[in-house]
Symmetry: C2
């Protein structure tokens, strides 16, 4: 049974806080294991990669030359894909590229009143490593969402790693990589793949930044190599929050809640409505949908263990609750979604109105589907083109402008006891 | 003796690679200690803070009410500051604020050919924790550089922590906090302060993001709480790379190299020049400056242990070497600094021309002095207003636009085996 909360209840605050603090992550101690694997790959390179791939993926590669997926394999995979799906993938790629191109930041250079030239410029991060999970969570759409912004930013080398348990790979994943212009693909996964990308091996040159989702070992390994390379955010289980009035078709809202629940037994779907009867209708529609869904078992587990229906007295109560949840995905299925959105501060992505189901954003709308989970939308953003560029500050003074602002720098340097700082300015003044 | 490298030498590549791989970080195993402190503060709150402050800072606070620095103390500190220095601090604050205001990103919303409304909007991260080191490295300028971008971004609450070993505090640090509108100041430091900011205690409400430099324990603690809160980059020892031709006054360049060296015995100052004799003259000037510098001992240790003079045949060789070093600070003291800068891709900040010593950027120019160290300029940027905002994606479809792009989403959802995703779209199509 999903949780039922009502803002009129005396214990609402207590129940809502409990919902917020609910732990959905598996709490295994994986750091030590990941650290050992990182150190081993760093020390033994390809040999360690081959060992771990044999052990964890039950894939026996003869030698390091077999780590890389060949052009012939990629060609074969593309040829084996369903044409309609490939076309859909191309449509998605074009739309994602268009959206991310608009995120390219502009350089700036200006001269201020003191005659100081100031500004900054953006350049691409050159070598990008893209982690793609194998097994159940291997999604071609995720390849697009991670690779396209890197390409748009101007990365010169895109390296993909994807584990192939028992040698299996979804051909659409290779097709997606091919479509995005991924330069190298290696059949490795886990902490060992993160190590290869961060430190390099005889076969794999190291990258500058690693992005892409993975299991707990991958997440731990990424966190541990942070500093040697850049990483994207650490993603937790996925979640959706739907705010819906009773003018919606309950069956639509039920489908939206299930689209998140079917990802993972620890995914979370929450409904906020101002009509308790509507909430009950959505619950009934969920049961009805579950009868015919392929992934009903996963979706049911998620909905029963982590689902929630929150009834509020009026929609005006919603924004504060939304901000406390800081959801990854937020659907506003109400008459004035823009008005409601303006009251909300923390959300990874907002889907406005009754015809914007989250799945559209997962695949085709254009914005990135890699979004902050587990309340991290309070301080972080979805993946974007900005994650694949870095900024260099620029400044230029001449004798006259140094004369103007130099004395203040000297005063501050002296107050901090940094004599050479002061000297480097004073020596240039007459 | 600083290293001497010459690009004409047969062993240049080997020596240069050794310089790049030189380890300057202290290699202590601090993670376990930091983890224990984090867990203890999380469990025991204020009581643990008081214990660690007694132990590490030799500061015995009666009870938790004494953790916070009072308004009266701040007032007193400001009154005790030198007026000229305070004025310089205000000048710096105005210039830093002006530069960071220009970094405020713009929202975007547009409608594409399919009638889909797409865009994003930026909002401030609300609660910011600012770590300020105590002791030797307590710099009021760092308070400005960390606090001003947060304020410009619109943070609603700025919480500063600063250890006060033996009860001592540089009054200029409190004055700088006061100038920037810091809302709360606590006299705590180390991993325990990071824990308090991330998890909160009875006295200190938790924040959403922690920024600011600290020692190895602080860096480790920040890395460990990443995910619970946002963090800025992990800063390593500071460094400067000066590219200078023989038209410079060697004494000026020597002062610039020393301004970095005086920070820390493990700071690094490197000169690239196309004239070996000029390099020798700079070395001589360094010796001469050292005779009269207050921090000569630190600067000499850094210069002798980690300094380097690299002679190249021609300046055209410089950009490739610069990119491999990916310096935190880069001075281009040449005739055409803009031309040379255009060839360079990886640097935290570039100081253009002969009248732009790094110290100007440390204090007064306007750009942030928190910059990527240890070759991380390959994938990261200096602190900026962007570090204090987050982006929410926005999308809105109507029945007609969903009809247009919905089928591709259904095809992709079905290929990924996600039936509820497909259903949430198809149920909205006629």
């Amino acid at each position: 049974m999903p949780l039922k909360l009502n803002s009129k209840s005396a214990d609402f605050e207590k129940s809502f806080t409990a919902l917020l603090n609910q732990k959905r992550d598996e709490d295994r101690n994986v750091d030590a294991v990941a650290a050992d694997i990182l150190a081993d790959v760093r020390a033994r390179g390809d040999a360690a990669l081959l060992d771990y791939t044999r052990k964890f993926d039950r894939l026996d590669l003869e030698d390091a030359s077999k780590l890389r997926v060949t052009d012939a394999e990629i060609k074969e995979a593309v040829a084996s894909c369903d044409q309609t799906t490939l076309e859909a993938l191309k449509t998605a790629a074009v739309r994602i590229e268009d959206y991310h191109r608009r995120q390219l930041p502009a350089d700036q250079m200006y001269q201020d009143d003191a005659g100081v030239s100031l500004g900054y410029r953006w350049t691409a991060i050159e070598n990008i490593g893209l982690y793609v999970p194998g097994g159940r969570a291997t999604y071609p759409s995720s390849v697009l969402m991670n690779a396209i912004p890197a390409k748009v930013a101007g990365a010169s080398r895109l390296v993909m790693v994807v584990p192939m348990p028992d040698g299996d790979i979804n051909p659409m994943v290779l097709a997606a990589a091919d479509l995005c212009g991924v330069d190298e693909i290696y059949r490795i996964g886990g902490a060992q793949a993160v190590a290869a990308l961060a430190y390099g091996t005889e076969t794999i040159a190291p990258v500058d930044k690693i992005v892409g989702p993975g299991n707990a070992y991958v997440a731990s390994a990424k966190k541990q190599v942070f500093g040697t390379v850049g990483i994207d955010m650490i993603a937790g289980p996925s979640e959706i929050l739907v705010v819906a009035d009773n003018l919606n078709d309950p069956a639509w809202i039920a489908a939206d809640l299930l689209s998140q629940a079917e990802h993972d037994p620890v995914a979370q779907s929450v409904l906020i409505t101002d009509d308790e009867a509507f909430g009950a209708a959505v619950e009934a529609a969920i049961e009805s949908h579950l009868a015919s869904l392929g992934r009903a078992e996963i979706a049911r587990a998620s909905w029963q263990d982590y689902g929630a229906v929150i009834t509020v007295k009026e929609m005006a109560e919603a924004p504060k609750l939304v901000d406390r949840i800081a959801p990854e995905h937020l659907e506003l299925c109400v008459e004035d979604p823009e008005g409601l959105a303006a009251e909300i501060r923390h959300a990874g992505a907002i889907f406005l109105g009754r015809y914007s189901p989250e799945a559209i954003g997962d695949y085709i709308a254009g914005p990135n589907h890699v979004l902050p989970t587990s309340r991290t939308a309070r301080f972080s953003s979805g993946l974007s083109t900005l994650d694949f560029v870095k900024r260099t500050s620029l400044m230029k003074l001449d004798a006259a402008s140094l004369q103007k602002i130099g004395p203040a720098a000297i005063a501050l340097a002296e107050s901090e006891g940094l004599g050479a700082h002061a000297l480097s300015v004073s020596i240039r003044l007459n």
